[in-house]
Symmetry: D2
């Protein structure tokens, strides 16, 4: 099998708590040393004081110090806490080509004054190109690009103050997610580099339909993991993406599932981003996600979109994440489905 490009492996483990890593030792076909990323949902609020995320990161990083951990808080509604392991397995020569492939890359350190700005966009775009190259597919063929990016800390604000792109750590998370998503969009060709400044300023609607970005205190560079299908990967796994235009936009996801069914495929995992529509409306009707001072709008959005996607797929241990700046259209979000050919 030597010489063949390795295939991507996607393994879902449900968890009994943020510190539950026991599934790692079960029989799941992905050797520990070939795991490259842990993409998890934990049951905290997904906001500033979500210690479920920190606890999970602590436990998984101890087990898998060389993997990137993408921990996203918030399993509202029917959603089930879980992690998805992404890694490499040897390709099987008798499987068809065009199988799921994965590449990873890292940007240089993002300096405080670069965060949320064009410099971060360009650095992420470069890393996306590198990750896709490792995976053996063109950036425009990527089906999912996960980015974990830094945020600005209290010390940054003391040192750089008004020279930064945000005025507090929470706001910087949004800026960093947006810049990372635009970096993906530039690499995939969805957004022109010339339009980045206007997009960052909010003057131009611009987004990627395959980006899923999150900001975390534990990184100083942007970690990129790209999934796509490569002609020279022999595997039965596939990934396909769709875009929900708003939080109830069932049709594109239903169409994708129908196509998978026509191919005889079986569902493996789903990755989606969700957010409350910023204009307070869904198809012209008022929503109350942004005026509820008891529950954050991101929690509402995950519960609602999670309920819809779990209903469509019949699976609740799916990755539905909030904070969708420049990831799909405002109020909507990208959806990637990993599936398996018969």
């Amino acid at each position: 099998v030597t010489g063949l490009r390795p295939a991507a492996a996607v393994v879902r483990l449900t968890t009994n708590g943020p510190d539950d890593v026991r599934g790692l030792n079960a029989e799941h076909g992905l050797p520990r040393e070939r795991i490259r990323a842990v993409v998890g949902k934990t049951e905290g609020n997904g906001l500033v004081n979500d210690f479920s995320r920190a606890l999970a990161a602590e436990c998984w990083q101890r087990e898998l110090p060389d993997a990137v951990t993408f921990m996203s808080g918030g399993t509202e509604g029917v959603l089930c806490p879980h992690v998805t392991l992404l890694g490499h397995v040897d390709a099987k020569g008798d499987s068809p080509g065009g199988g799921l492939s994965m590449g990873a890359a890292l940007t240089p350190v993002v300096r405080p004054r670069e965060l949320g700005r064009r410099a971060q966009v360009e650095a992420v775009a470069d890393a996306v190109r590198a990750a896709c190259a490792e995976g053996g597919f063109a950036p425009g063929e990527a089906e999912l690009v996960l980015v974990k990016c830094p945020l600005l800390t209290g010390e940054d604000f003391v040192e750089h103050g008004a020279a930064l792109s945000a005025s507090d750590p929470l706001a910087s998370m949004g800026r960093s997610r947006a810049a990372s998503a635009l970096g993906v969009a530039v690499a995939t060709g969805e957004v022109r580099l010339d339009d980045v400044d206007a997009a960052l300023a909010g003057d131009l609607p611009a987004w990627s339909s395959v980006a899923s970005t999150s900001a975390g205190i534990e990184v100083s560079s942007c970690h990129v993991v790209a999934l796509g299908c490569s002609p020279d990967v022999h595997s039965n796994l596939r990934a396909s993406h769709a875009v929900m235009r708003d939080a109830i936009d069932l049709a594109p996801v239903a169409a994708l599932l129908a196509e998978i069914e026509r191919e005889g495929g079986t569902f493996v995992q789903l990755f989606a981003k969700a957010e409350p529509s910023p204009d307070g409306r869904v198809r012209g009707r008022r929503h109350t996600m942004l005026t509820d001072s008891d529950i954050s709008g991101t929690r509402h959005a995950r519960a609602s979109v999670g309920g819809l996607l779990a209903g469509l797929t019949g699976e609740t241990a799916i990755y539905v994440s909030g904070g969708a700046e420049a990831q799909g259209p405002p109020g909507g979000g990208p959806v990637t489905i990993v599936w398996r050919l018969p």
Copy 2:
């Protein structure tokens, strides 16, 4: 037109706040004096300290003192605050028979020691039979039976103490909803009267697939409004119901919508009940709705099921209510759709 049984009218008004009654004066075809019930969703938490419900009830009762108000708090996720007016209009002789009809009835006062017990079940069953008779359809043909029932108050506990079916007002709301739903089930034939005691004790799973019950401090009797189709009502409106077996059970609702589409019908309104599965699982997967001490499980359930039903219907101003004791199977709930023939 005299002599014809009146047809039921169903009018949706979206609201800009709990006290927004302006829609009442718009052109909607249902004269104020023929409105029998106001079934609303307001944007509070739907729990003990939900003053959005009280504010809405105050404002609508002032406008429509003779109508029953069913105010349900909680428009989590994409759901849009609204009211549905139910009333009577003259039937049109040139419309087909089998149209939507409505009847209403009232039980005697439910005394504190009867609440949550067989006496309440029997009283509600009688009222359901009366309401269906007024509507011109058999109880077994009902498509939706709304019941608003009393709860036990602090004074009741002082006077009757341990002789009551619950130990505090909040718990008595669940008891009253359950007894009312079983009353509907007895009338429709879904549950045998002999099984009521075991069902109330939790020893026997028993539920109605058309009941939607809520408890409120403002009533001392049970108010019943029944919707069904009657052969001698000439109208284009129809109602049909389905049952979700769990919170992601999309198939029965999708099948119902497909059937309506095959008939050339258009969607008018949807009424559903939702709850977090009491065993902490959805299709064997853990959910965290009952272990989240920051957000009540009922809020999670409405957000999640609301997201699914809004996605299926394309409409967010639908009635999704929590507290589904004996209304559909545990963790699932009944769904009634009102629709219009071409």
Copy 3:
């Protein structure tokens, strides 16, 4: 008694819910037609979706259409929902002079572009001077100045956009409270008019030690009610104020209570403002009120400061309100105590 300046009356009514106005009809010595203001605490969250405030305002305005209603949401911790009626009674010639007096005044309509700016500050300062003049005391002698001020609405943002002092309705509430408090401070001489622009811009710390301001959708002008002691008012009621420098600054309040005790006085009512310290510290120690994404910092602050003040006074039905922009120093707040001579 004719010809004597009327004395201020202060009546506390505890309530059983936001719509409980029954106390109004009890024997409390303040005739309904002489009530000028209703200052209430209701049990909602005190934030955007607090419908307890709207429900209470609705019910009290119906009863007392000519009085100003200051409804403040949030009775966290031990605090007890209540209203304080402020009005006039005939002075008693045999009581000593220097008694509690009240005056009220109204600004012109605050236009959207004036809100949160120097124009609002000056208008409020003028109204404070007028209210104090009616009360018969100098502005610098005021012990409490309540201001209810407008906010910017969605329509204002559509029409005036970037020309406004805030970017959304919630933010405009803070701007309006701050400008109103600075208006009080200018009238009392605590802040120089020349410093107002710098204070509004956040470049200069500036506050009033007697202002208590709130913003509400139901007004378009600023309503001002001032309390102070006037030499020519014959009454046993008195008011005195202190300033808490931070949220645990017990000493100034304890000193004030000790002084009242030395005079043989009895406690009548307390009015305070509270807020989480914006720098995240209390006396150098970290607090978590601003990083708790489940509970708003204003709710934390009311609970904590309310617990302290209730402990000191032995009374839980006191007025502790959040949103203390320019009302006392950052993280602290003004406290006014009304008391009665023997």
Copy 4:
């Protein structure tokens, strides 16, 4: 110094997050190997899904595997997250006798059917006697007895069902805390063993004025740490306790602080329990802590009592814990202050 009974040491470390153990390595005079207990407050909600507690326990147990960790979630209002290290240091012969002493003991494993029942009470009472004996003071002289006790798990309910003292894990935490506190009270002589069954049944008010108990999933026995003053301990540290009769009962704590001041003492640390009064009243006035469906009553109580105690002591990094079953009178709670002679 050999042969002298060791003195208790009490060291407060403020923390920057649940995983912040850095203070352990600072100069604080208590050698790592002599630390017996870590008593911490973390910034989660203190309820079922408080992962700040789990994260802190994980990090501290890794550092100090032989110490007992009492982690209590909830630093509402002004309270500052921190840990208090309890350990032993060599006594100094030139310090006066009567210094603070500490003893620890462990019960046998509490079997599921014993939990919340007389068997647990008796086992804890025995352990309290042993801990006090180690400390060199009589149980009736104890100033603070910390107990960490087990709870019932899902597996217990499957195996033993209705034979248990509670119907779900959350309820079993209250049962276990109550039985542990009664165990303390039996050892100290505050409650007679004959009255335990009635007290557990809720038929007899009974409590300890020095118990502080918490339930946690990580123990199967009850861990007891007792603090008291012993004639043969030479140390300047002292501890004294008071009881708050309700949540605003400032007087006993103020009296204790005044006494410490008269002795020339300085404040070291405070340990208190707090709860919302179960009858919904504080001194006859309604409170809303138990009818707020958005914020748990325990969070309200900690914020409110914490604000009062921080105001009195001038210190926000104090231990205020909720869940006060049988720890002080209903709605009140015990308060222990550790202080230092000049």
